[in-house]
Amino acid sequence: MSVKIAFEEVTQVYGDTGKGGGTRALEHFSLEIAERNFVCLLGPSGCGKSTVLNLAAGFEKPSGGSVLIDGKTVTGPGRDRGMVFQEPLLLPWRNVIENVMLGPCLAGWPKVEALAQARHYLRLTGLERFERHASYELSGGMRQRVALARAWIGEPPVLLMDEPFGALDAQTRLVMQELLLEIWEQTRTTVLFVTHDVDEALFLGDRVVVMSASPGRVLLDLAVDLPRPRTEEILTSPRFADAKRRCLRLIGEESRRAFGHLEGDGI
Protein backbone atom coordinates (compact mmCIF):
# COMPACT_ATOMS: atom_id res chain seq x y z
CA MET A 1 0.00 0.00 0.00
CA SER A 2 1.21 3.49 -0.82
CA VAL A 3 1.98 6.25 1.68
CA LYS A 4 -0.98 8.61 2.09
CA ILE A 5 0.27 11.07 4.71
CA ALA A 6 3.91 11.80 5.41
CA PHE A 7 5.59 14.06 7.96
CA GLU A 8 9.26 14.57 7.18
CA GLU A 9 11.42 15.99 9.92
CA VAL A 10 8.73 18.48 10.84
CA THR A 11 9.54 21.23 13.33
CA GLN A 12 6.87 23.62 14.55
CA VAL A 13 7.67 26.65 16.70
CA TYR A 14 5.01 28.97 18.12
CA GLY A 15 5.29 32.54 19.30
CA ASP A 16 8.38 34.70 19.17
CA THR A 17 10.24 33.05 16.32
CA GLY A 18 12.77 35.89 16.04
CA LYS A 19 15.28 35.18 18.79
CA GLY A 20 15.08 31.41 18.97
CA GLY A 21 12.50 31.83 21.74
CA GLY A 22 8.93 30.65 21.50
CA THR A 23 7.41 27.22 22.15
CA ARG A 24 8.91 24.32 20.24
CA ALA A 25 5.77 22.20 19.81
CA LEU A 26 7.33 19.66 17.42
CA GLU A 27 10.93 18.82 16.64
CA HIS A 28 12.13 16.42 13.94
CA PHE A 29 8.74 14.79 13.87
CA SER A 30 8.63 12.08 11.19
CA LEU A 31 5.74 9.75 10.45
CA GLU A 32 4.38 7.90 7.43
CA ILE A 33 0.81 6.67 7.22
CA ALA A 34 -0.16 4.09 4.62
CA GLU A 35 -3.36 4.37 2.63
CA ARG A 36 -6.50 2.96 4.32
CA ASN A 37 -4.72 2.69 7.62
CA PHE A 38 -6.20 3.70 10.98
CA VAL A 39 -3.45 5.36 12.99
CA CYS A 40 -3.94 6.60 16.53
CA LEU A 41 -1.73 9.37 17.87
CA LEU A 42 -1.34 9.08 21.63
CA GLY A 43 0.36 11.45 24.02
CA PRO A 44 0.02 13.59 27.12
CA SER A 45 -1.63 16.97 27.07
CA GLY A 46 0.35 19.63 25.28
CA CYS A 47 2.70 17.22 23.53
CA GLY A 48 1.76 18.49 20.09
CA LYS A 49 -0.93 16.05 18.93
CA SER A 50 -3.24 18.78 17.71
CA THR A 51 -0.32 20.49 16.07
CA VAL A 52 0.38 17.36 14.01
CA LEU A 53 -3.26 17.25 12.94
CA ASN A 54 -3.43 20.95 12.13
CA LEU A 55 -0.38 20.59 9.94
CA ALA A 56 -1.94 17.66 8.06
CA ALA A 57 -5.17 19.62 7.72
CA GLY A 58 -3.22 22.58 6.36
CA PHE A 59 -4.38 25.06 9.01
CA GLU A 60 -0.77 25.80 9.81
CA LYS A 61 2.49 25.70 7.90
CA PRO A 62 5.46 23.91 9.46
CA SER A 63 8.42 26.03 10.62
CA GLY A 64 10.69 23.33 9.24
CA GLY A 65 10.45 20.03 7.33
CA SER A 66 7.47 19.14 5.18
CA VAL A 67 4.03 17.62 5.35
CA LEU A 68 2.90 15.63 2.32
CA ILE A 69 -0.40 14.13 1.23
CA ASP A 70 -0.07 11.71 -1.67
CA GLY A 71 3.52 12.93 -2.02
CA LYS A 72 2.46 16.56 -2.53
CA THR A 73 3.24 19.27 -0.04
CA VAL A 74 0.20 20.49 1.88
CA THR A 75 -0.44 24.15 1.12
CA GLY A 76 -3.75 24.67 2.88
CA PRO A 77 -6.96 22.98 3.93
CA GLY A 78 -8.87 21.09 1.28
CA ARG A 79 -11.90 18.91 0.67
CA ASP A 80 -9.64 15.85 0.24
CA ARG A 81 -9.23 15.82 4.02
CA GLY A 82 -12.20 15.62 6.36
CA MET A 83 -11.83 16.97 9.86
CA VAL A 84 -13.61 16.07 13.09
CA PHE A 85 -12.80 18.29 16.05
CA GLN A 86 -12.98 17.65 19.78
CA GLU A 87 -16.18 19.70 19.93
CA PRO A 88 -18.85 18.83 17.38
CA LEU A 89 -18.83 22.46 16.14
CA LEU A 90 -22.34 22.23 14.74
CA LEU A 91 -23.73 25.46 13.30
CA PRO A 92 -26.72 26.31 15.49
CA TRP A 93 -28.48 28.22 12.69
CA ARG A 94 -28.67 25.02 10.63
CA ASN A 95 -30.74 22.02 11.63
CA VAL A 96 -29.32 18.53 11.70
CA ILE A 97 -29.57 17.69 8.00
CA GLU A 98 -28.45 21.16 6.99
CA ASN A 99 -25.38 20.70 9.12
CA VAL A 100 -24.61 17.43 7.38
CA MET A 101 -25.13 19.12 4.02
CA LEU A 102 -22.68 21.90 4.87
CA GLY A 103 -19.83 20.55 2.73
CA PRO A 104 -21.98 19.75 -0.34
CA CYS A 105 -23.62 23.14 0.01
CA LEU A 106 -20.28 24.97 0.03
CA ALA A 107 -19.01 22.82 -2.83
CA GLY A 108 -22.13 23.53 -4.86
CA TRP A 109 -23.46 19.99 -5.24
CA PRO A 110 -26.88 19.60 -6.83
CA LYS A 111 -29.45 19.87 -4.07
CA VAL A 112 -31.06 16.48 -4.71
CA GLU A 113 -27.79 14.60 -4.58
CA ALA A 114 -26.71 16.43 -1.42
CA LEU A 115 -30.00 15.60 0.26
CA ALA A 116 -29.83 11.94 -0.69
CA GLN A 117 -26.27 11.58 0.57
CA ALA A 118 -27.07 13.44 3.79
CA ARG A 119 -29.99 11.10 4.43
CA HIS A 120 -27.70 8.15 3.80
CA TYR A 121 -25.19 9.26 6.37
CA LEU A 122 -27.88 10.22 8.87
CA ARG A 123 -29.17 6.68 8.54
CA LEU A 124 -25.67 5.27 9.09
CA THR A 125 -25.29 7.32 12.24
CA GLY A 126 -28.78 6.46 13.41
CA LEU A 127 -30.09 10.01 13.20
CA GLU A 128 -32.69 9.79 10.45
CA ARG A 129 -35.46 10.60 12.90
CA PHE A 130 -33.75 13.84 13.93
CA GLU A 131 -33.02 15.45 10.60
CA ARG A 132 -35.15 18.54 11.27
CA HIS A 133 -34.04 18.98 14.87
CA ALA A 134 -32.11 22.05 15.93
CA SER A 135 -28.54 21.14 16.76
CA TYR A 136 -28.80 22.66 20.23
CA GLU A 137 -31.60 20.26 21.07
CA LEU A 138 -29.37 17.20 20.72
CA SER A 139 -27.36 15.34 23.36
CA GLY A 140 -23.58 15.44 23.25
CA GLY A 141 -23.31 12.02 21.61
CA MET A 142 -25.88 12.87 18.97
CA ARG A 143 -24.06 16.08 18.15
CA GLN A 144 -20.81 14.26 17.68
CA ARG A 145 -22.60 11.79 15.36
CA VAL A 146 -23.81 14.71 13.26
CA ALA A 147 -20.24 15.96 13.09
CA LEU A 148 -19.13 12.52 11.89
CA ALA A 149 -21.83 12.40 9.23
CA ARG A 150 -20.84 15.89 8.11
CA ALA A 151 -17.21 14.83 7.71
CA TRP A 152 -18.09 11.56 5.96
CA ILE A 153 -20.55 12.94 3.44
CA GLY A 154 -17.77 14.40 1.30
CA GLU A 155 -16.13 10.95 1.31
CA PRO A 156 -12.68 12.42 1.82
CA PRO A 157 -9.82 9.97 1.28
CA VAL A 158 -8.33 11.19 4.58
CA LEU A 159 -10.12 11.69 7.88
CA LEU A 160 -8.38 13.73 10.58
CA MET A 161 -9.88 13.42 14.05
CA ASP A 162 -8.78 15.50 17.05
CA GLU A 163 -9.97 13.80 20.25
CA PRO A 164 -13.48 13.68 18.83
CA PHE A 165 -14.87 11.71 21.77
CA GLY A 166 -12.96 13.49 24.53
CA ALA A 167 -16.01 15.26 25.86
CA LEU A 168 -18.30 12.22 25.97
CA ASP A 169 -18.97 9.94 28.92
CA ALA A 170 -17.55 6.45 28.85
CA GLN A 171 -20.69 4.64 27.71
CA THR A 172 -21.55 7.04 24.89
CA ARG A 173 -17.92 7.06 23.91
CA LEU A 174 -17.87 3.32 23.42
CA VAL A 175 -20.93 3.42 21.19
CA MET A 176 -19.31 6.14 19.10
CA GLN A 177 -16.08 4.18 18.77
CA GLU A 178 -17.93 1.12 17.53
CA LEU A 179 -19.89 3.26 15.08
CA LEU A 180 -16.69 4.84 13.81
CA LEU A 181 -15.07 1.47 13.22
CA GLU A 182 -18.18 0.13 11.52
CA ILE A 183 -18.34 2.93 9.00
CA TRP A 184 -14.56 2.99 8.53
CA GLU A 185 -14.67 -0.67 7.64
CA GLN A 186 -17.17 0.17 4.91
CA THR A 187 -15.39 3.23 3.52
CA ARG A 188 -11.75 2.41 4.29
CA THR A 189 -10.51 5.95 4.37
CA THR A 190 -7.15 6.75 5.87
CA VAL A 191 -7.69 7.90 9.44
CA LEU A 192 -5.36 9.84 11.70
CA PHE A 193 -6.98 9.83 15.12
CA VAL A 194 -5.67 11.86 18.04
CA THR A 195 -6.39 10.80 21.59
CA HIS A 196 -4.81 10.74 25.00
CA ASP A 197 -6.66 7.62 26.03
CA VAL A 198 -4.67 4.39 25.77
CA ASP A 199 -7.79 2.18 25.69
CA GLU A 200 -9.26 4.21 22.87
CA ALA A 201 -6.06 4.10 20.82
CA LEU A 202 -5.73 0.34 21.19
CA PHE A 203 -9.39 -0.29 20.49
CA LEU A 204 -9.45 1.74 17.28
CA GLY A 205 -6.00 1.69 15.67
CA ASP A 206 -3.99 -0.47 13.32
CA ARG A 207 -1.04 1.41 14.73
CA VAL A 208 -0.59 3.42 17.89
CA VAL A 209 1.97 6.17 17.64
CA VAL A 210 3.05 7.48 21.04
CA MET A 211 4.44 11.00 21.25
CA SER A 212 6.82 12.43 23.82
CA ALA A 213 6.11 15.72 25.51
CA SER A 214 7.67 19.08 24.60
CA PRO A 215 8.97 19.18 21.99
CA GLY A 216 6.85 16.44 20.48
CA ARG A 217 8.63 13.56 18.79
CA VAL A 218 7.65 9.99 18.02
CA LEU A 219 8.48 7.97 21.11
CA LEU A 220 7.02 4.64 20.07
CA ASP A 221 5.30 3.17 17.05
CA LEU A 222 3.28 0.06 17.92
CA ALA A 223 1.37 -2.24 15.61
CA VAL A 224 -1.91 -3.32 17.24
CA ASP A 225 -2.46 -7.01 16.54
CA LEU A 226 -6.02 -7.24 17.81
CA PRO A 227 -8.42 -8.86 15.35
CA ARG A 228 -11.09 -6.88 13.51
CA PRO A 229 -14.00 -6.29 13.58
CA ARG A 230 -13.55 -5.09 17.14
CA THR A 231 -16.48 -4.71 19.50
CA GLU A 232 -17.05 -3.87 23.14
CA GLU A 233 -16.17 -7.40 24.27
CA ILE A 234 -12.59 -7.07 23.16
CA LEU A 235 -12.02 -4.40 25.82
CA THR A 236 -12.21 -6.90 28.60
CA SER A 237 -10.46 -9.71 26.74
CA PRO A 238 -7.10 -10.96 28.01
CA ARG A 239 -5.54 -10.07 24.63
CA PHE A 240 -6.57 -6.47 25.07
CA ALA A 241 -5.26 -6.38 28.64
CA ASP A 242 -2.01 -7.87 27.35
CA ALA A 243 -1.69 -5.30 24.62
CA LYS A 244 -2.45 -2.51 27.04
CA ARG A 245 0.06 -3.76 29.57
CA ARG A 246 2.73 -4.04 26.92
CA CYS A 247 1.90 -0.60 25.64
CA LEU A 248 1.97 1.05 29.05
CA ARG A 249 5.22 -0.74 29.92
CA LEU A 250 6.85 0.44 26.72
CA ILE A 251 5.62 3.98 27.23
CA GLY A 252 6.97 3.88 30.77
CA GLU A 253 10.37 2.58 29.68
CA GLU A 254 10.72 4.95 26.77
CA SER A 255 9.62 7.88 28.91
CA ARG A 256 12.09 7.04 31.62
CA ARG A 257 14.88 6.54 29.12
CA ALA A 258 14.19 9.78 27.28
CA PHE A 259 13.13 12.08 30.08
CA GLY A 260 14.19 10.39 33.28
CA HIS A 261 15.61 13.60 34.64
CA LEU A 262 12.26 15.39 34.30
CA GLU A 263 10.20 12.84 36.17
CA GLY A 264 7.88 13.96 38.91
CA ASP A 265 7.84 17.56 37.78
CA GLY A 266 4.68 19.69 37.52
CA ILE A 267 2.21 17.56 35.62
Partner: protein
Protein backbone atom coordinates in the same frame (compact mmCIF):
# COMPACT_ATOMS: atom_id res chain seq x y z
CA UNK B 1 -32.09 30.53 46.44
CA UNK B 2 -33.85 27.26 45.85
CA UNK B 3 -35.14 26.24 42.45
CA UNK B 4 -38.73 26.56 43.53
CA UNK B 5 -38.37 30.14 44.71
CA UNK B 6 -36.63 31.12 41.47
CA UNK B 7 -39.55 29.71 39.54
CA UNK B 8 -41.99 31.54 41.78
CA UNK B 9 -40.27 34.89 41.38
CA UNK B 10 -40.07 34.40 37.60
CA UNK B 11 -43.85 34.18 37.61
CA UNK B 12 -44.22 37.03 40.10
CA UNK B 13 -41.72 39.29 38.33
CA UNK B 14 -44.09 41.15 35.99
CA UNK B 15 -46.63 41.58 38.79
CA UNK B 16 -44.03 43.10 41.08
CA UNK B 17 -42.93 45.44 38.29
CA UNK B 18 -46.48 46.62 37.69
CA UNK B 19 -47.01 47.14 41.40
CA UNK B 20 -43.82 49.12 41.68
CA UNK B 21 -44.79 51.43 38.80
CA UNK B 22 -48.24 51.86 40.34
CA UNK B 23 -46.64 52.74 43.67
CA UNK B 24 -44.51 55.33 41.95
CA UNK B 25 -47.48 56.96 40.22
CA UNK B 26 -49.34 57.03 43.53
CA UNK B 27 -46.39 58.66 45.23
CA UNK B 28 -46.20 61.24 42.47
CA UNK B 29 -49.94 61.86 42.80
CA UNK B 30 -49.73 62.32 46.55
CA UNK B 31 -46.65 64.51 46.29
CA UNK B 32 -48.50 66.80 43.91
CA UNK B 33 -51.72 66.72 45.91
CA UNK B 34 -50.03 67.56 49.19
CA UNK B 35 -48.12 70.30 47.45
CA UNK B 36 -44.64 69.00 48.29
CA UNK B 37 -43.52 70.84 45.21
CA UNK B 38 -45.15 73.56 43.16
CA UNK B 39 -46.92 72.43 40.04
CA UNK B 40 -44.30 74.28 38.04
CA UNK B 41 -41.70 71.99 39.47
CA UNK B 42 -43.74 68.83 39.66
CA UNK B 43 -46.98 68.83 37.67
CA UNK B 44 -49.55 66.42 39.06
CA UNK B 45 -50.23 63.17 37.16
CA UNK B 46 -53.76 64.42 36.59
CA UNK B 47 -52.47 67.58 35.03
CA UNK B 48 -50.18 65.65 32.73
CA UNK B 49 -53.05 63.35 31.83
CA UNK B 50 -55.28 66.34 31.07
CA UNK B 51 -52.57 67.79 28.88
CA UNK B 52 -52.22 64.46 27.14
CA UNK B 53 -55.96 64.17 26.49
CA UNK B 54 -56.20 67.72 25.29
CA UNK B 55 -53.24 67.22 23.00
CA UNK B 56 -54.73 64.00 21.67
CA UNK B 57 -57.59 66.19 20.48
CA UNK B 58 -55.83 69.34 19.41
CA UNK B 59 -52.24 68.28 18.95
CA UNK B 60 -49.29 70.39 20.01
CA UNK B 61 -48.54 73.46 17.95
CA UNK B 62 -50.88 72.41 15.15
CA UNK B 63 -49.42 68.89 14.88
CA UNK B 64 -51.34 65.87 16.29
CA UNK B 65 -49.62 64.14 19.17
CA UNK B 66 -49.27 60.81 17.41
CA UNK B 67 -47.56 62.62 14.59
CA UNK B 68 -44.89 63.99 16.93
CA UNK B 69 -44.26 60.45 18.06
CA UNK B 70 -44.28 59.12 14.50
CA UNK B 71 -41.92 61.82 13.26
CA UNK B 72 -39.38 61.16 16.02
CA UNK B 73 -39.65 57.42 15.51
CA UNK B 74 -39.23 57.87 11.78
CA UNK B 75 -36.07 59.92 12.25
CA UNK B 76 -34.65 57.43 14.73
CA UNK B 77 -35.48 54.40 12.62
CA UNK B 78 -34.00 55.94 9.50
CA UNK B 79 -30.84 56.72 11.44
CA UNK B 80 -30.73 53.24 12.99
CA UNK B 81 -31.19 51.59 9.61
CA UNK B 82 -28.34 53.63 8.17
CA UNK B 83 -26.17 52.84 11.18
CA UNK B 84 -26.79 49.12 10.72
CA UNK B 85 -26.18 49.20 6.97
CA UNK B 86 -22.92 51.07 7.42
CA UNK B 87 -21.84 49.83 10.82
CA UNK B 88 -22.28 46.08 10.59
CA UNK B 89 -20.24 45.48 7.44
CA UNK B 90 -17.61 47.98 8.58
CA UNK B 91 -17.45 46.44 12.05
CA UNK B 92 -17.23 42.91 10.67
CA UNK B 93 -14.49 44.00 8.30
CA UNK B 94 -12.61 45.61 11.19
CA UNK B 95 -13.07 42.49 13.28
CA UNK B 96 -11.64 40.34 10.51
CA UNK B 97 -8.85 42.59 9.30
CA UNK B 98 -6.37 43.85 11.89
CA UNK B 99 -5.03 46.32 9.33
CA UNK B 100 -8.40 47.94 8.64
CA UNK B 101 -9.01 47.92 12.36
CA UNK B 102 -5.73 49.77 12.98
CA UNK B 103 -6.64 52.33 10.33
CA UNK B 104 -10.12 53.12 11.59
CA UNK B 105 -9.79 52.50 15.30
CA UNK B 106 -8.44 55.95 16.25
CA UNK B 107 -11.45 57.62 14.63
CA UNK B 108 -13.94 55.23 16.15
CA UNK B 109 -12.43 55.61 19.61
CA UNK B 110 -12.31 59.36 19.21
CA UNK B 111 -15.82 59.85 17.93
CA UNK B 112 -17.65 57.33 20.09
CA UNK B 113 -17.50 59.17 23.42
CA UNK B 114 -17.56 62.61 21.75
CA UNK B 115 -20.57 64.61 22.91
CA UNK B 116 -22.71 64.70 19.80
CA UNK B 117 -24.01 68.18 20.63
CA UNK B 118 -20.55 69.44 19.73
CA UNK B 119 -21.18 68.34 16.18
CA UNK B 120 -24.36 70.37 15.74
CA UNK B 121 -22.63 73.49 14.35
CA UNK B 122 -20.61 71.38 11.94
CA UNK B 123 -23.56 69.22 10.98
CA UNK B 124 -25.70 72.26 10.17
CA UNK B 125 -22.95 73.69 8.07
CA UNK B 126 -22.41 70.42 6.24
CA UNK B 127 -25.90 69.03 5.97
CA UNK B 128 -28.15 72.01 6.50
CA UNK B 129 -31.13 72.16 8.81
CA UNK B 130 -33.38 69.68 7.05
CA UNK B 131 -34.19 66.12 8.04
CA UNK B 132 -30.78 64.88 6.97
CA UNK B 133 -28.92 66.70 9.72
CA UNK B 134 -31.32 65.41 12.38
CA UNK B 135 -31.02 61.87 11.12
CA UNK B 136 -27.28 62.24 10.81
CA UNK B 137 -26.88 63.18 14.47
CA UNK B 138 -28.76 60.11 15.61
CA UNK B 139 -26.87 58.08 13.04
CA UNK B 140 -23.40 59.03 14.29
CA UNK B 141 -24.26 58.42 17.89
CA UNK B 142 -25.58 54.97 16.99
CA UNK B 143 -22.96 54.08 14.42
CA UNK B 144 -19.88 53.77 16.58
CA UNK B 145 -21.49 51.46 19.11
CA UNK B 146 -22.66 49.28 16.23
CA UNK B 147 -19.18 49.24 14.71
CA UNK B 148 -17.48 48.38 17.96
CA UNK B 149 -20.07 45.68 18.68
CA UNK B 150 -19.84 44.11 15.24
CA UNK B 151 -16.04 44.21 15.32
CA UNK B 152 -15.98 42.51 18.71
CA UNK B 153 -18.51 39.94 17.49
CA UNK B 154 -16.50 39.15 14.38
CA UNK B 155 -13.31 39.02 16.42
CA UNK B 156 -14.80 36.56 18.85
CA UNK B 157 -15.96 34.01 16.30
CA UNK B 158 -14.42 30.79 17.56
CA UNK B 159 -11.24 29.68 15.81
CA UNK B 160 -12.75 26.21 15.53
CA UNK B 161 -15.62 27.49 13.43
CA UNK B 162 -13.28 29.29 11.06
CA UNK B 163 -11.16 26.17 10.74
CA UNK B 164 -14.29 24.18 10.02
CA UNK B 165 -15.04 26.62 7.21
CA UNK B 166 -11.58 26.27 5.77
CA UNK B 167 -11.62 22.47 6.14
CA UNK B 168 -14.72 22.45 3.95
CA UNK B 169 -12.95 24.62 1.40
CA UNK B 170 -15.17 27.66 1.92
CA UNK B 171 -14.18 30.70 -0.15
CA UNK B 172 -13.64 34.02 1.66
CA UNK B 173 -17.11 35.08 0.64
CA UNK B 174 -18.61 31.82 1.88
CA UNK B 175 -16.67 32.13 5.13
CA UNK B 176 -18.31 35.49 5.69
CA UNK B 177 -21.85 34.47 4.78
CA UNK B 178 -21.96 30.91 6.08
CA UNK B 179 -19.86 31.27 9.21
CA UNK B 180 -18.79 34.71 10.39
CA UNK B 181 -22.04 36.60 9.96
CA UNK B 182 -24.36 34.03 11.58
CA UNK B 183 -21.82 33.36 14.33
CA UNK B 184 -21.62 37.05 15.09
CA UNK B 185 -25.36 37.71 14.91
CA UNK B 186 -26.32 37.00 18.54
CA UNK B 187 -23.58 39.28 19.84
CA UNK B 188 -24.40 41.88 17.17
CA UNK B 189 -28.00 41.92 18.33
CA UNK B 190 -26.88 42.59 21.88
CA UNK B 191 -24.75 45.52 20.83
CA UNK B 192 -27.45 46.80 18.48
CA UNK B 193 -29.77 47.02 21.48
CA UNK B 194 -27.17 49.03 23.33
CA UNK B 195 -26.49 51.17 20.29
CA UNK B 196 -30.17 51.96 19.75
CA UNK B 197 -30.38 52.97 23.39
CA UNK B 198 -27.47 55.34 22.91
CA UNK B 199 -28.91 56.64 19.62
CA UNK B 200 -32.29 57.30 21.16
CA UNK B 201 -30.68 59.51 23.80
CA UNK B 202 -29.55 61.79 20.97
CA UNK B 203 -33.09 62.38 19.74
CA UNK B 204 -33.52 65.70 21.51
CA UNK B 205 -30.13 66.97 20.44
CA UNK B 206 -31.11 66.13 16.88
CA UNK B 207 -34.45 67.87 17.17
CA UNK B 208 -32.79 70.98 18.54
CA UNK B 209 -31.71 71.60 14.96
CA UNK B 210 -34.45 73.82 13.59
CA UNK B 211 -37.24 71.32 14.02
CA UNK B 212 -40.91 72.11 14.34
CA UNK B 213 -42.18 68.67 15.28
CA UNK B 214 -41.12 65.51 17.03
CA UNK B 215 -41.15 64.53 20.69
CA UNK B 216 -37.72 66.01 21.32
CA UNK B 217 -38.67 69.33 19.81
CA UNK B 218 -41.88 69.26 21.83
CA UNK B 219 -39.92 68.92 25.05
CA UNK B 220 -37.50 71.69 24.13
CA UNK B 221 -40.16 74.04 22.89
CA UNK B 222 -42.38 73.44 25.89
CA UNK B 223 -39.44 73.96 28.19
CA UNK B 224 -38.74 77.35 26.66
CA UNK B 225 -42.16 78.39 27.93
CA UNK B 226 -41.93 76.57 31.24
CA UNK B 227 -44.73 74.18 30.29
CA UNK B 228 -43.50 71.53 32.72
CA UNK B 229 -46.63 69.47 32.12
CA UNK B 230 -45.80 69.10 28.45
CA UNK B 231 -42.15 68.46 29.30
CA UNK B 232 -43.24 65.68 31.62
CA UNK B 233 -45.58 64.25 29.01
CA UNK B 234 -42.77 64.37 26.48
CA UNK B 235 -40.43 62.58 28.86
CA UNK B 236 -43.00 59.84 29.43
CA UNK B 237 -43.57 59.45 25.70
CA UNK B 238 -39.84 59.39 24.97
CA UNK B 239 -39.17 56.84 27.68
CA UNK B 240 -42.04 54.57 26.74
CA UNK B 241 -41.29 54.75 23.03
CA UNK B 242 -37.63 53.98 23.72
CA UNK B 243 -38.66 51.04 25.87
CA UNK B 244 -41.03 49.66 23.22
CA UNK B 245 -38.32 50.04 20.61
CA UNK B 246 -36.04 47.92 22.76
CA UNK B 247 -38.76 45.30 23.20
CA UNK B 248 -39.17 45.18 19.42
CA UNK B 249 -35.46 44.52 18.97
CA UNK B 250 -35.59 41.78 21.60
CA UNK B 251 -38.53 40.21 19.75
CA UNK B 252 -36.65 40.39 16.48
CA UNK B 253 -33.64 38.82 18.13
CA UNK B 254 -35.72 35.88 19.37
CA UNK B 255 -37.09 35.36 15.88
CA UNK B 256 -33.81 35.75 14.02
CA UNK B 257 -31.30 34.08 16.34
CA UNK B 258 -33.31 31.55 18.35
CA UNK B 259 -30.12 29.77 19.27
CA UNK B 260 -28.58 32.73 21.11
CA UNK B 261 -27.41 31.62 24.55
CA UNK B 262 -28.37 28.02 23.85
CA UNK B 263 -25.21 26.68 22.28
Amino acid sequence: MSTASVARSARLGPLISIASVAAFVLLWYEAARLGWASSLILPAPGEVLDTALQMLNDGYRHVPLWQHVAISLGRALAAFAAALVVGIPLGLAMGLSPILSSILDPFVQFLRPLPKLALIPLVIVWLGIGESSKIFLIFVSTLFSVIVGAAAAAGSVKVGRLRLARAFGATRRQQLWYFVLPSALPEIFTSVRLAFGVGWTTLIAAEMVAADSGMGWMVINASSYMRTDIVMLGILLLGVTGYLLDLAVVGLQRAVVPWAGRE
